[in-house]
């Protein structure tokens, strides 16, 4: 075994070596990864700065829940911080890299079994290494009667994405809502099953979330309270038909009108899946990226692309400034009714356009349906030229036109001030919430652009917090900043999280700093001493 170049904070070299040896006894020497080459594969591939700031000291890749239990117990013995990743593809949020430099990555990718597919009840039971690609293939092999909801990149983990509150574009698009039953290794190595899974021999684990007593599943999402080793996920039965809807509004200031027109349609379930409102910059960037073009093909200036240039280019392409897309899932007759209501709502707006297309059961799946995983969307990371990357600021906002429009403009002003192109999509999360997903692309060779992006995130988080907003998810570099936005009653929620953390994980070995939740020993300095 090569000499590790990075050690976990506060762990002696002798203890670290002993821990690695003990890990190897559990998972086999091939799956304790300490060489420089191997450790580099765990760095954040889209790091908005120095990736070494979040460098792991090693990785250990177990193959079963029992091996996870054993690894966690060893970590407690030697006080080794573990950073669990599922497929390690949480790019833009840190990929497979830990918050705390020197943590050992607990790589769950080898646990990649689809344990059950139940077509009668519409669920699957999966392990964390199962990607959206894997589950899609398994469902197709099982007859294709169930469909997944997938985020834009398909290499992510079904479990990991749901735990991180990810989104897809079907009626099952709020992935955390589709969780039903977990198996979890607690920070002390104990194994528990939640909901009906707590009944020995239960056949109802994946059909009833609540079991008896408190519902724990939420506590294992966006947290560092346990390692989820199995999870039930509800899946949509293949519908009879799908309709694509693209709506556009002609005015550069039409975002509030778009929000107010879509809101009632989503609330009464006429629109029964996630919609995306695309801002003018994103329309341009998506279009260019799909053609393999990048920023220099439209603008060579240093600051952010001027809005008037973007609007002019959109007009030349025959596109409107504000666009929204979504799909509807129903029987054919149901789609007729839904589409009639959507036309009625938009046809009364001068200049509004509605475009539709349909798919019927038996036809080949097409890309616009967004029900087959892919990696098509990743081309946008090269917007500033490669090697690219991005980070996001995505506050939760009430879908009321004026509130959304005002905050959107406030964020826009900061993007212009920091000279970053304002790529923005606004996605609903269920019927009542909207995310303003403001994306900061960068070129990883452009230190100045990355610095401006980091500073932009900080100022947006501080101003957003002062205005009463909170980010829904954050890159490992910004987990404290995002947690700081949740201010009520002297950060009472953080204090509660810390009390739970200290109770479940007194040694503080599991994912220190995740979501801004630090173990007692590292709380004051937030790991900065390491």
């Amino acid at each position: 075994m090569a000499q590790p170049a990075v050690r976990p904070h506060g762990v002696s070299e002798a203890d670290f070596k002993a821990a690695l040896k003990a890990f190897a006894d559990v998972v086999g020497p091939d799956w304790v990864l300490v060489s420089q080459e191997d450790r580099n594969t765990y760095l954040d591939a889209f790091a908005p700065g120095d990736a070494d700031a979040h460098a792991p000291s090693a990785a250990v890749a177990p193959h079963s829940a029992q091996e996870v239990q054993a690894v966690v117990k060893i970590a407690n013995e030697y006080r080794i911080p573990l950073w669990p990743v599922s497929t390690g593809r949480n790019l833009a949020y840190g990929g497979s890299a830990p918050v705390l430099r020197g943590s050992v990555v607990l790589d769950l990718k080898r646990m990649n079994r689809v344990l059950e597919i139940n077509a009668e009840l519409g669920y699957a039971l999966v392990e964390p290494g199962v990607s959206f690609f894997d589950l899609f293939d398994a469902l197709q092999s099982a007859g294709g009667k169930l469909w997944i909801s997938t985020p834009a990149p398909g290499w992510g983990s079904v479990i990991g994405n749901a735990l991180e509150h990810g989104l897809g574009y079907t009626p099952y698009g709020v992935h955390a809502d589709t969780i039903c039953g977990m198996e979890v290794v607690l920070p002390n190595g104990d194994l528990v099953r939640t909901g009906m899974g707590a009944v020995e021999g239960s056949k109802e684990w994946q059909i009833f979330k609540y079991g008896y007593g408190p519902v724990w599943d939420g506590l294992f999402t966006q947290s560092n309270f346990g390692v989820v080793t199995k999870m039930g996920v509800w899946l949509m039965p293949q519908p009879e038909a799908v309709a694509y809807v693209g709506v556009s509004l002609p005015g550069a200031d039409d975002l509030p009108l778009m929000v107010d027109t879509l809101r009632p349609l989503r609330l009464n379930d006429t629109i029964n899946a996630t919609y995306t409102i695309v801002n003018p910059f994103r329309s341009i960037i998506d279009g260019y990226s799909m053609q393999g073009k990048s920023r220099q093909d439209i603008y060579q200036g240093k600051g952010s692309i001027p809005l008037d240039l973007v609007l002019k280019e959109l007009a030349a392409q025959g596109k409107a400034p504000w666009n929204a897309t979504f799909n509807l899932f129903d029987r054919d007759k149901g789609l007729d009714l839904r589409l009639a209501a959507i036309h009625e709502a938009f046809d009364r707006i001068p200049g509004a356009k509605v475009q539709t297309r349909r798919w019927h059961r038996g036809e080949p799946i097409e890309q616009w349906m967004r029900v087959q995983p892919g990696l098509f969307a990743l081309g946008i990371v090269d917007w500033y030229g490669g090697p690219g990357g991005h980070m996001n600021y995505a506050p939760v906002v009430t879908p009321i036109g004026k509130r959304v429009g005002d905050y959107y403009e406030s964020i826009y002003k900061r993007f212009v001030e920091y000279g970053v192109d304002y790529y923005c999509g606004l996605l609903n999360v269920g019927p009542r919430a909207l995310l303003i997903n403001a994306v900061m692309f960068f070129n990883r060779n452009d230190e100045d652009l990355m610095r401006r992006g980091r500073e932009l995130y900080d100022v947006l988080a501080k101003e957003g917090s002062a205005a009463g907003f909170g980010d829904y998810r954050a890159h490992i570099s910004f987990m404290d900043a995002a947690a700081d936005m949740y201010t009520f009653n002297g950060h009472a929620l953080r204090k509660l999280n810390e009390r739970v953390k200290d109770t479940l994980d007194p040694q503080g070995i599991l994912a220190p700093g995740k979501q801004g939740i630090w173990p007692r020993a590292l709380r004051e300095k937030k790991g900065r001493a390491s």
């Binding site: 990785a59 293939d137 081309g379 090697p387």
Partner: protein, 112 residues
């Protein structure tokens, strides 16, 4: 759209273990490599998608599809996969084992 349809065909071919006449000309290791390529690499390196689009900026479009290249060495493929290149992140051993990587490299270097 064509790319997506071909991905579906590939996925089914993979699941059902269908071998084409072309496969019979491949060594067992190259066949293993082709299977791994179609399971992992194809999502970025089939026609019309990200990796191919990037490569087509500096070579002709047909050669930008990795499977059509005749100049790739096994060593280059192995290095690029483990270190990443441009915006392509490295692949970890837990995603693509050393044996499967060696097979992918043998498959992509078969025409050299």
């Amino acid at each position: 759209m064509k790319a997506l349809s071909s991905l579906l065909v590939l996925a089914f071919a993979l699941a059902t273990g269908v071998a084409s006449a072309d496969d019979e000309a491949l060594s067992p290791q190259q066949q293993q490599g082709k299977r791994a390529y179609n399971h992992i690499c194809v999502y970025c390196h089939s026609p019309g998608v990200w990796g191919t689009n990037r490569l087509s900026k500096r070579m002709d479009k047909e050669k930008a599809v990795l499977e059509n290249r005749t100049d790739l060495s096994a060593a280059l493929v192995q290095t690029v996969v483990r270190t990443g290149i441009g915006s392509m992140p490295p692949l970890r051993k837990s995603e693509l084992s050393d044996a499967d990587l060696a097979a992918v490299a043998a498959y992509l270097a078969r025409s050299r």
